[in-house]
Subunit: 207 residues, 2 copies
């Protein structure tokens, strides 16, 4: 984008605040927002360029394709979630403590990276980028199931719920946060991980 | 559909099993499946007629519009969920027992009416039918929140989790079932309500 472009923009469309200032992360953020709004498949590069107020050529200067935007966004979400499982606190100690760490950590990743995790959770497997993301989700789910099973084997988690079912329900609760949590909307995102652990591990019942 | 139509169908397209036999419920079931597959907005009456192997006129004999199909499907889901809250077991007795009944009952509705609840959970508020469904979901959520708050006030449910957050997380867990549960897929749908109550009220921890 040239200085002349910026000047024209400011004169023609004052409502497009910050238009000249997009770097790679800024473009990615707008792309993920647009994918979440109208669906990845239904969003064209032209749609994105229009939303950004950029020429397609300026967009291609930063990202080679729509698939690259998807890939980078899903990597942010999956990499963040996998980092929780790869943390030493998820691999050493009592399995129930590790499970507690993973539930809290995953919730924190979700709250911190709400748009990219939202995108990840809507992936249905169209194309190789989505297929690869689904495969990483499957591996993640299996690792959580193994952790629940380990906590059951150690006697700290009830074994009258199937480990795979428990893992799916626990992450169902965590993932539901993308449906209703909005930063600044009255719910403290920093507490959600602890709330989920209270419900899932300790239980809501007092007696 | 006439007997002559049926005979022609059988001769021309033997792979379309049951094609002549669509009644209102059969058409609705196929419509909900198609809406879930490709999105309600993206599905035309022509798409649906093609999937059913029916002429559009035959379809209009049963349903006046695509909106009527949506409305009837959402009514099945919402009506089923609301019936749980309207059951005497949800309104008399200790609030924690009522909450237990509602969590189990809602899960059972979801398992029994998986396609229509899936459709309901994807509604985003486009148009009056979806707006009305969202409003009924909001009322439902408020009633569940009130139930959690009542159980907290009676001292049977921990009050260090906000009642509205707890209600959302509980139904996040329940609603997640549409994402992964498939009838005949190895998980006993009839157990899920009990599993969810075990996790949410009793907690996974044994100690």
């Amino acid at each position: 984008m040239t200085a002349a472009d910026s000047a024209t923009t400011t004169a023609d469309a004052p409502a497009r605040r910050g238009r000249p200032g997009y770097d790679r992360d800024g473009i990615l953020a707008v792309a993920v927002q647009l994918f979440n709004e109208q669906g990845y498949d239904a969003t064209s590069v032209s749609d994105l360029a229009r939303r950004l107020g950029l020429a397609k050529s300026a967009l291609y200067h930063h990202f080679s394709s729509k698939e690259e935007l998807l890939s980078v966004a899903l990597e942010a979400a999956l990499g963040g979630l996998e980092a929780v499982l790869d943390d030493p606190r998820a691999s050493a100690g009592a399995a129930s403590d590790r499970l507690r760490f993973v539930l809290t950590g995953a919730t924190d990743v979700l709250v911190a990276q709400l748009p990219s995790v939202t995108l990840l959770l809507r992936v249905r497997g169209n194309g190789p980028v989505e297929q690869a993301a689904l495969e990483r989700r499957r591996v993640f789910d299996h690792r959580v199931t193994d952790l629940v099973a380990a906590a059951q084997a150690e006697g700290d988690v009830r074994d009258d719920v199937d480990a795979a079912v428990a893992a799916r329900l626990l992450f169902g609760m965590i993932n539901s946060v993308v449906e209703w949590y909005r930063p600044g909307g009255g719910v403290d995102g920093g507490r959600l991980g602890a709330d989920i652990v209270r419900i899932a591990l300790d239980g809501l019942r007092t007696s």
